[in-house]
Subunit: 395 residues, 2 copies
Amino acid sequence: MGFRFELEEKCRHTWARVGVLHTPHGAVPTPVFCPVGTQATVKTLTPRDLEEVGASLLVANTYHLHLRPGADIVAELGGLHSFMRWGGPILTDSGGFQVFSMGHLRDIDDDGVTFRSHIDGSEHRLTPEKSIAVQGQLGADIIVALDVCPPYPSDHDHNVEALERTHRWARRCLRAQTRADQMMLGVVQGGTFADLRAESAQYLVSLDFPGYAIGGLSVGEPKTLMHDMLDVTIPLLPEEKPRHLLGVGSPEDLFEGVARGIDIFDCALPTRVARNGTFFTRDGRLNIRNARHRDDPAPVMEECSCYCCRNFSRAYLRHLVIGKEILGLHLATLHNLHFMLSLMSEIRDAVKEGRFPDLKAEFLGGYRVADYGAGNRDRRAWMSRLGVSEVAPDD
Amino acid sequence: MGFRFELEEKCRHTWARVGVLHTPHGAVPTPVFCPVGTQATVKTLTPRDLEEVGASLLVANTYHLHLRPGADIVAELGGLHSFMRWGGPILTDSGGFQVFSMGHLRDIDDDGVTFRSHIDGSEHRLTPEKSIAVQGQLGADIIVALDVCPPYPSDHDHNVEALERTHRWARRCLRAQTRADQMMLGVVQGGTFADLRAESAQYLVSLDFPGYAIGGLSVGEPKTLMHDMLDVTIPLLPEEKPRHLLGVGSPEDLFEGVARGIDIFDCALPTRVARNGTFFTRDGRLNIRNARHRDDPAPVMEECSCYCCRNFSRAYLRHLVIGKEILGLHLATLHNLHFMLSLMSEIRDAVKEGRFPDLKAEFLGGYRVADYGAGNRDRRAWMSRLGVSEVAPDD
């Protein structure tokens, strides 16, 4: 039905790989970073802005769209692609993550979850069948099976119970699928327990999903623990199927995830911090509110080719953000997504050209430098190797 | 110094005229509607959006920019054009309107006004010399003399006193001007008193400003009174100089103002109501929050060529606005400015082709139709004559 995952190149030193995921709405070069369009809009951006920054696959949230405007409305208007005017591929999540994170507002049983809307307090029911039905109405290219997301930290017993439900629900999701033009990802869970992660990966592989997502990470655990879980999980997943690390995607996460064999990332972080006046740079995060940008005529990044950096000074961007001007939030979002998508493009090129470990070391070596002595000289050295000019370090 | 006002065509039945105002940053076809960029940004829009909707002359607010980021910062960054990256002409107001509307937060004397910042309560002083100096630092093409704006209603005596100050300040502003590359407009005041309006026009004409603004209207008085004041004032102003009606510019105001000989309009209304979910149409204002747009696949205006109407359904726009999504505010702003600027372009064409009275009658006849019986048939008739398709009437 238009889906094919083509592996093009593998890194010889890490699990990194480059490929193309073909969908009914076009091809996605992987590894890919997906901007998050929670309510069927990537906040502050038009579809043409998203094209300009190089987005290919977008994520939209089933929970939010189910409550407002309602999946029936979206279906009536021709599905998400038509509704939000995004001609490229779209992925919807299961709605589970939002519902499980609602704490006392939800009640889980073997069959599903009952929860109250954050908008009007109305009661709703989410089951595996309902999630797949709603995602069917929304009409994304890639959909995600409903899983149980235990909070972090949770003990082993709690995770065993959650995992058994997740696996039963995975089977029900597969049975519930009616649309052949949607690719469903099974979700590996297991918390921070290596044995459960391995069990989950093996069980879901036995169900033969066309692709896999890894859930329940980056929920408060140390980064090293997240990396350990990826190290356990990914070798058990079939090489020929795409792997999505759910809800993860800071600039540094891209490198660590790609190195472990992740193909798809989605994360609201780059757009969320943008709306707080934080711009990504090769040195780390730049807080444009800082007084030292008050009269700085330089762009956020001299070497960046985005509309924001090509046109506007730090002084103007600071003025916009301090003055609570929407244009400031728009330009920061545009820049941060351009940064993420360009970085991923660089990563793909590096994997193809056998330079991924070097690029990773260079990027992570220069990122968030706090010591302006020896560290700064190192930073300058790799910047020089990269052929980029000096930019101010993180605030 | 690059300024020239060229009259191209006059209407034979009204005071309407078409011309071109040449400025150091380009030519402005008149009559013109100026989007308002209070804080050196037309809210939610990039400069390229403004180009796309056909903006030529922008207005920025001296009061706001003086307080934040400060005219010295703007000057240091090369002036407003460079700061906000608008290559076209810019007009700044005097700052007086905002200061006078602050009520108990300001104190007027013969020399100037002392006021407190709405941002941090700090005390500031605005005099004619200071206004011109700040506008000099901001570096707009067209600047405005500092006037006294009495509240409406105010009695004759109060208006006489305000007018005398306005006239003394007008002389001081002319004397204070140092930059030859800025065109200064003198401001006709006089409240709602025909004798004072006439006196003001005659006095300011004697000072030989290169152009005139008409202030203190659309501040709460009935529209007919505003029209009366224009009817008194405009015949006393020199035909060969441009006339700016300050702070006025609903769609219907454009027709009434142009018919009376106004060349320049500026108004925050189209962008302000956009951020409340109100879209302009040929029928009047459409409130996108209305439940009947819930599943409407039609654009706001079938016949509109703006990015918003070419791409998005009323259902999606309603979803964005109800969901408090910035994209909704952006698209509404884009549409409303496109509407205003296209309407002005239509008006210019109509004046050139001797059809202005017909266009005015047609537009005002169809706008805000509330009776869906006979009125609706009339509306359909003129829509058919205009060759436009049916759109829903005002909410």
